[in-house]
Amino acid sequence: MVPIEYYVGLSAVLFTIGALGVLTRRNAIIIFMSIELMLNSANLLFIAFARMYENLGGQIFVFFVMTVAAAEVAVGLALIVAVFRTKETINIDEASTLKG
């Protein structure tokens, strides 16, 4: 198999790209995509270590993560739709009415 360092590196890069996306992008859907990317990087790492240690627990955990991600996306997209209905935009910079 491929040495585990490559998987860790790839996972880190994916995670960083995802984090940067969350922090810098304005479009709410893009932020969600970045969050998915971060979750998937964690999934990749789980699978890789599960293969390395011949332990199926990692792969099972991936199932859990995917379920949570799905549920979270459902709720989040519902929120975006609700916000869009009021503000006609999904630019998160526009959602600053809580500014104190």
Binding site: V22, L23, D93, S96, L98, K99, G100
Partner: protein, 720 residues
């Protein structure tokens, strides 16, 4: 309580009733007096006094049956402080029973007299409701005097002493809104105050004497002190101080030099008061005190001299003043001071029997003279403006006698002898009783005053320490006869000098009956101490008192033998004085408006006698005015200006205000306020600072979360 059932103590258990009958009488009059009216009040008061007399007579019988042995009866416990005990104990011995009989006997007669007299007096003063108040005070006086004479310790005596002082004050100032001549003013209350304060100075002396007695002897009870004093072996100076201070008390109560000045002013009170309190009973309390304390006075020689000289000097001094008085009661007042001087001189010399004998006879004839003078004053006043027959107060224009209208503008003094004259034809009963009293006072045989005064002179002639006392008393006796003669000629003989005297009316029976009874006592009372071996029982009174005096002093009573030379000498002097007074006043009686012939003869000396030798003015200048100045200084300058204004207002209050202002403005507002404002603003600023975090930017929040995760992970991985 039948006679057959009496035990050896006889009627002793009844003795508290001498105090309680008058006390109940006064309480009944306080509660029901207004409702009962004059008759009810009079019956209550006179019976209370008469019942007290009855109990005193029972005590007399008890003592006779017991051969004069002293009895004590403890009624109640009073003070008990550690080992110091003063019970309310009654002492029934011959001396106290003598006083009880005099007080209640003469007192009851005077109560009866006052029933009639006050009926007129309250109407002349315009206050009929005051009738009950008068008899309440009179009964209170009897009760207090009984406590005085029956006490078995100095403290019980002092309770009565103070009580009669109070009654004297209340009764002298009975008409406290008026002056003695009847006009509105404050002189009567001033006289009452003067009496009380002069007495207080005396009381101070008496109290000090009691303190010293208690300090040395550990007790104040007569039963315990006198046996101890009889064999006294301590320092002489202690007895000097005790007797000297006690003498000060006596000079206050019994009106001797220097504290006699209240008694003439006390004539402002109604005449029955003058008779009872200031002639017969209260003023004799001092004489009683000395007679009671005989063992103490006997313990040191000089004590006799001190007391006797004070008494004799007072006797002469007051007699000279009496000669120059025009007010009928003032003559009698100074006469009382003078006669008290005789009594004090007698007991001072150690002649206790003579002193007490004179006390008793003097009570008879001086009360008689005062009551009779009251009758004279009443007669003249009724002659001046008679009351309506119904007894109502006289109204301005309702007189039936038009000739009296012109008098209302002048102030008429019914007590001024210059307004009297020729009264013997108008008021004969009063006249004859007055003559009995005068002859008794002047010491003409066989009247009572002769026997008692003669016995005093006899004892004075035998006084070893000095013969000055004898000569002072003889000269005083001469003056006595002279001023009484002067008074009689001026009042009863000659022609009336004022129309009021012309119209004078005799007084009713309630007034005359006591006069007659007292006149009989003044005439025949002297025989109770018959000095001869044949005839009546010799020295009955002396033996009677001897039971007590021998028991307390421890040695036998010395009864001097009757001396014809002394008796004849004193009688001749008295007769000569009366004849002299007839030459001056009787032969050519004064006319209306004329000056006193003695004034023409003696000039400034008469002025001195009339002005009471300016003693009151002297006291005013030396004691009273500086005292008032001191009081005013203390109150105005020290208390008000310094203490109140400067110290409290300026010092304390103003500085406190300054401190409070200082604390309030610079500190409270300046400092504390600023601190709290600072805190508030600090909170505000930090708040607004922190609120800048709340941008509302989601991306900022996300960044914050991310940063936090990085920090925590970094800490966990790198540092742990």
């Amino acid at each position: 309580m039948l006679l057959s059932e009496t035990t050896t103590t006889g009627f002793l258990e009844l003795v508290p009733w001498i105090v309680f009958f008058p006390a109940i009488g006064l309480l009944l009059n306080i509660i029901f007096g207004r409702r009962w009216g004059e008759l009810g009040v009079a019956i209550t008061a006179v019976s209370a006094s008469a019942l007290s007399l009855a109990v005193s007579v029972l005590q007399f019988i008890t003592l006779r049956a017991g051969h004069g042995e002293a009895l004590t009866y403890q009624f109640a416990e009073w003070l008990r402080i550690g080992s110091f005990q003063i019970p309310w104990e009654f002492r029934v011995d011959t001396l106290s029973v003598t006083m009880m009989l005099v007080v209640s006997g003469v007192g009851t007669l005077i109560h009866l007299y006052a029933v009639g007299y006050m009926h007129f007096d309250v109407r002349y003063k315009g206050d009929p409701k005051a009738y009950a108040r008068f008899f309440i005070y009179m009964n209170l006086f009897i009760a207090m005097m009984m406590i005085l004479v029956s006490g078995n310790s100095y403290l019980m005596l002092f309770v009565g002493w103070e009580g009669v002082g109070l009654c004297s004050f209340l009764l002298i100032g009975f008409w406290f809104t008026k002056n003695p001549n009847g006009t509105e003013g404050t002189e009567n209350s001033y006289a009452a105050k003067k009496a009380f304060i002069a007495n207080r100075v005396g009381d101070f002396g008496f109290l000090m004497a009691m303190f010293l007695t208690f300090w040395h002897f550990g007790t104040l009870s007569f039963s315990e002190i006198f046996p101890e004093v009889a064999h006294y072996s301590g320092p002489d100076s202690l007895i000097w101080w005790i007797t000297g201070l006690m003498l000060l008390g006596v000079t206050g109560k019994s009106a001797q030099i220097p504290l006699y000045v209240w008694l003439p002013d006390a004539m402002a009170g109604p005449t029955p008061v003058s008779a009872l309190i200031h002639a017969a009973t209260m003023v004799t309390a001092g004489v009683y005190l000395i007679a009671r304390s005989a063992p103490v006075f006997n313990a040191v020689e000089g004590a006799h001299l001190m007391v006797a000289l004070v008494g004799a000097a007072t006797a002469l001094f007051a007699a000279t003043i009496a000669v120059g008085q025009f007010d009928i009661k003032k003559v009698l007042a100074y006469s009382t001071v003078s006669q008290l001087g005789f009594m004090v001189a007698a007991v001072g010399m150690g002649a206790y029997v003579a002193g007490m004998f004179h006390l008793v006879t003097h009570a008879f004839f001086k009360a008689l003279l005062f009551l009779a003078s009251g009758s004279v004053i009443l007669a003249v006043e009724r002659g001046h403006h008679p009351l309506e027959e119904t007894g109502d107060a006289p109204t301005g224009g309702a007189h039936g006698h038009d000739s009296h209208h012109d008098d209302h503008s002048e102030i008429f003094d019914p007590q001024d002898m210059r307004n009297m004259g020729g009264l013997r034809k108008k008021i004969p009963w009063t006249f004859w009783t007055y003559m009995a009293g005068t002859l008794a006072l002047a010491g003409i045989v066989p009247f009572a005053g002769f026997w008692s005064k003669d016995e005093i002179l006899l004892d004075a002639s035998h006084f070893e320490l000095t013969s000055v006392v004898y000569w002072l008393l003889v000269i005083a006796a001469a003056f006595t006869a002279f001023y009484m003669g002067r008074q009689v000629w001026m009042v009863f003989f000659g022609e009336p000098r004022h129309h009021a005297a012309k119209e004078a009316k005799e007084s009713p029976w309630t007034i005359l009956v006591p006069l007659v009874i007292l006149a009989l006592l003044a005439t025949f009372g002297g025989f109770m101490n018959w000095p001869f071996e044949q005839g009546l029982e010799p020295h009955a009174f002396g033996h009677w008192l001897g039971y007590t005096l021998e028991a307390s002093t421890g040695h036998e009573l010395h009864i001097p033998e009757f001396s014809f030379s002394v008796a004849i000498q004193s009688t001749l002097i008295a007769v000569a004085a009366i004849v002299l007074s007839w030459f001056i006043y009787g032969r050519k009686p004064m006319k209306a408006g004329e000056t006193d012939p003695l004034q023409k003869a003696l000039g400034p000396v008469f002025k001195g006698m009339n002005a009471k030798w300016w003693v009151d003015e002297f006291y005013q200048a030396v004691f009273l005015t500086p005292y008032e100045k001191l009081a005013k200084f203390l109150s105005q300058t020290v208390d008000w200006n310094f203490w109140h204004d400067w110290f409290h207002e300026k010092g304390i209050r103003d500085n406190f205000q300054r401190l409070a202002n200082f604390l309030a403005n610079p500190i409270d507002l300046g400092v504390i306020d600023k601190i709290s404002t600072l805190l508030a603003r600090g909170a505000q600023n930090s708040g607004s600072l922190l609120s800048k975090l709340q941008t509302g930017f989601v991306r900022n929040y996300a960044l914050a979360v991310f940063t936090g995760v990085v920090v925590i992970l970094g800490y966990l991985i790198l540092l742990r």
